[in-house]
Symmetry: C2
Subunit: 129 residues, 2 copies
């Protein structure tokens, strides 16, 4: 049962497509989290192997889509500027992470059923063993 | 409250990333459904604006990833061949659709909270009105 200990558990990637066309998925959520942790859009981008240009584009897209900006940034200065999440940005990230937790929990049985149908998963035991 | 009647409700797109690297997302699920409905990989691909080559590649990827093939196909003949879901393919599609229903239901409050933070959503009324 534990013969595949080198395998990570399945992950559920979520993308919300809002009616007006706005989207929120793993990339934007991870970028918000990286900005919160590093205080810098550039550092957050580096941590994700994302270009600075793309990170800026995603931040500007989110800032334009939400009622209030999600990231506030200051350019220049001796510290090279910095960025932080606004109250809205922190709320967006928190809601997305809660959504991940809730859906992973609610869908665990279905995900396990799908995994059990994969080759090499769960050995040769039936799924209910 | 109903001023945005032209907008679709938010949709949740799910991609399962299994530990061994296999992935199952909206494209593969819609392709399986199209094959079930049309009896043809080519017709299913056309219905999704997907190239026949890509559809075949996705089918072969799934056939290799699961313990049993998900699609069985016959080439040639006067009918130009056909394709249908195997029992495994039907089960994979059914589990994925159940997962969509379960996660959409479980995550509805979080998705509504995110939507309420978007510009132009829910008018100027507070989210609980």
């Amino acid at each position: 049962m534990t013969e595949h200990t080198d395998k990570k558990p399945p992950a559920l990637r979520l993308r919300i497509v809002f009616g007006g066309g706005a989207m929120l998925g793993p990339g934007k959520a991870d970028l918000l989290e990286g900005i919160r942790e590093t205080g810098s859009i550039a550092a957050a981008a580096r941590g994700m192997n994302m270009s600075y240009k793309r990170a800026w584009m995603l931040v500007e897209t989110m800032n334009a889509a939400f009622r209030a900006p999600v990231v506030q940034s200051s350019r220049g200065g001796s510290a090279g500027g910095g960025a932080s999440l606004t109250q809205t940005g922190a709320a967006v990230l928190a809601e997305y992470r809660k959504l991940q937790d809730i859906t992973a929990e609610a869908g665990a049985d279905r995900i396990a059923a799908l995994q059990a149908m994969l080759k090499g998963e769960a050995g040769e035991d039936p799924p209910d063993s």
